[in-house]
Amino acid sequence: MRIACIAFILILAFSPADAFEIEAKRSYASVEDGSMLSIISTADVEVFEPIIFEFQKRHPDIAIEYVVASSSEVMRALHDENASYDLGISSAMDLQTKLANDGFTRRYVSDATSLLPDWATWRDRVFAFTQERAVLVISESTFEELPIPSNREDLIELLREYPEIFDGRIGTYDVRTSGTGYLFATQDSRNTESFWRLTEVMGRLNTRLYCCSGAMLADVASGKLAFAYNVLDSYANSKLGDTPGIITVEMDDFVSVMLRTAIIPNTVKNYEAAGTMIDFLSELGNYPELVEQTGLPPVEARDSYESQSVRPIRLGPGLMVFLDKMRKESFLRSWVNSIEQR
């Protein structure tokens, strides 16, 4: 019965008729015979691949199946549909926290995880391995003549002053579809009064909404967008090299810092390999070339933050507030009202 059930889930998980949508899927065979580690992740294949290669260099007996899905789809797979994966990696800390809180994750403790700073783990179930900032990505050419805004108030000012430059040329995540976008937007709403005014102003200027950072960055680079608001610096930085014409700007009123986290779902089949991967990710800082290659800033001690305005998002039950269906509903309603003023 149980086997049948798992088989059924497997069919669900990997058949095109999946209830949850996946964006990409890639398999990495092991060099030696060994076990299979299946990962469901929000990180694009290109971003994560170097990590997989390095990991397999060290653990040649572990084959990896890497499935990419949006954070809400990852949540749906693990929370609602009990899909079987050995590791869930997501940039949506709130959803990962909810998974751990609601009892969908397995506990894991090792030497490596106990070396992580306190704030980088929650209940020995959620493990942060990167800390990524939300930044403003601006098109160099557009801002040639304009002052570069250093905080949200300046930005609002600028938008009000030059509506003709910015009309239709602002990009941000569509928080209805992007988990990361929703996380950043809710944190913004908590951190500053300016958030709603900014959204309002952006709405009036026909802001374009994106599901993902890739397209948004491309549009900034091409000059189609003057700037994109609240983009993960990890993505931007990894693109900076081969994309001329974009600059990242950190706001100095506050910068949200998101932790990319890993969890072991209850449906894990290869617990050991999942633990090995978590250990490897916890020690990401030990591989500087890998950090460079992926653009994923590893978890470091908090003291390294240069200023007060850097606000790391805290793991914990507070993150579940904006997941409350009623709260989410009213937040999205306000947001849509502000951003879509047609």
């Binding site: 751990a100 009892g103 209940r123 908590r190 009623m326 709260r327």
Partner: protein
Amino acid sequence: MSVLKPTGSIRRRLVIQLAIIAALLSLAFFFTVRFVAEQAATDTQDNILAASATSIADAVYSEGGAVRLELPYSALSMLGTISEDRVFYRVIVDGETLTGYEDLPINEARNASRTPLFETMEYRGDNVRTATVSRTLSVGNQSRTVLVVVGQTRLGLAAISTRITTTATAVGVGFFLFATALSAFAAQNALSPLNKLAESVARRGPNDLRPVVATTPTELVPLVSGLNSFMRRLRDALNRSEDLIAEAAHRIRTPLATVRTQAEVIHRQMERPKNRNSVREMIRAVDESSRSAGQLLDHAMVTFRSDQLETQDIDPKELLHEVVDRLSPTAELKDIQIDLQLPNNDFSISGDPILLQNAARNILDNAIKYSPGETEIVVRLIPSDTCRIDFIDQGRGFADADIRNLTKRFSRGTNVNDIVGSGLGLTIADDVARAHGGKLVIGTNDNGVGACVSLVLPLS
């Protein structure tokens, strides 16, 4: 002297009793701390749960005929500040779940009240503590009941409780050890007057029968005054017996001397040989009695002084000079030469001079008594690892007398003929030697006929 068998130590009893008290106090401390601390931890969690539930209840509002909730950020985040526990909540309006975990059990029987109700229950595989508050909300012209439950698992609480238990255990054990050490010290301290007293009594010389005057704690006053009165009685008894000995010697010897003088007068006046013989017999008997009385009293004195031997440093050479001087008139009567051979170097022995003189005198007296006239007696002092004094005469020697028996009371040899004696001389000498940790050696003069009696004493 019989050895006292101690029946346990006061100090040990004291320490054990105090340690038991300390252990009980430590246990009481441990349980109190744990109880209070756990209560405090539970209260802390309850307070936060109540605050959270209340803030959620406050955030419920009505809008266009519908009940809505703006879940406050702090309502859940505050629960994350004390521990990494799982958090659940549920909001129910008139029995319908508005938001939150729909399967979170709720106590629906309660009346609308803003005082939180706390419960502990099993939920999603964990022990969960919940706080429930309710309020009424008027929507339109209807009044609706809003129930808010906030729950949190108790793992953080368990961790706190473990930590408290560990700390309380450590403190309890530490307190116990410290208190025990202190009580050992206190017992030692409390008993120190007793020890001091015991020491001062034990340190006393054998003849020190003065009352104890050291400062005495109240509890020991009866013991010390009892001891003092006992010592006074003992001192009195000793004084009496000393007096008695002196008195007895005097009382017996004096009349005997008178009898002897009178008998000699009579003897001179007697003409008939038969009568003269009788009187000589009588004089002899008187001599024997007098000798016996003297020796008996000497022996009693020796026994008495040996029991409480009081030693001092003595120069044996000087001692021998005195003894020889004292007896040389007797020796001269028999034309006996006493040759005193002393070493050149000075040394000393520790002992009672009266006893040692008595012993030496008795041995030398024997040598003179049992030697024929015109002979020589050698008294020689040989110091080596002991102090050995030889008395060598050229008399009749011990013949085949049983040498071992000669030191018994009243035992005399078969070789004595008509020589007056009581048989106590060697007994006295032997007792004195033993009392000083030495011995008396009775032997034969190996350069010919005669006896060799040696007094062997340890050096000081």
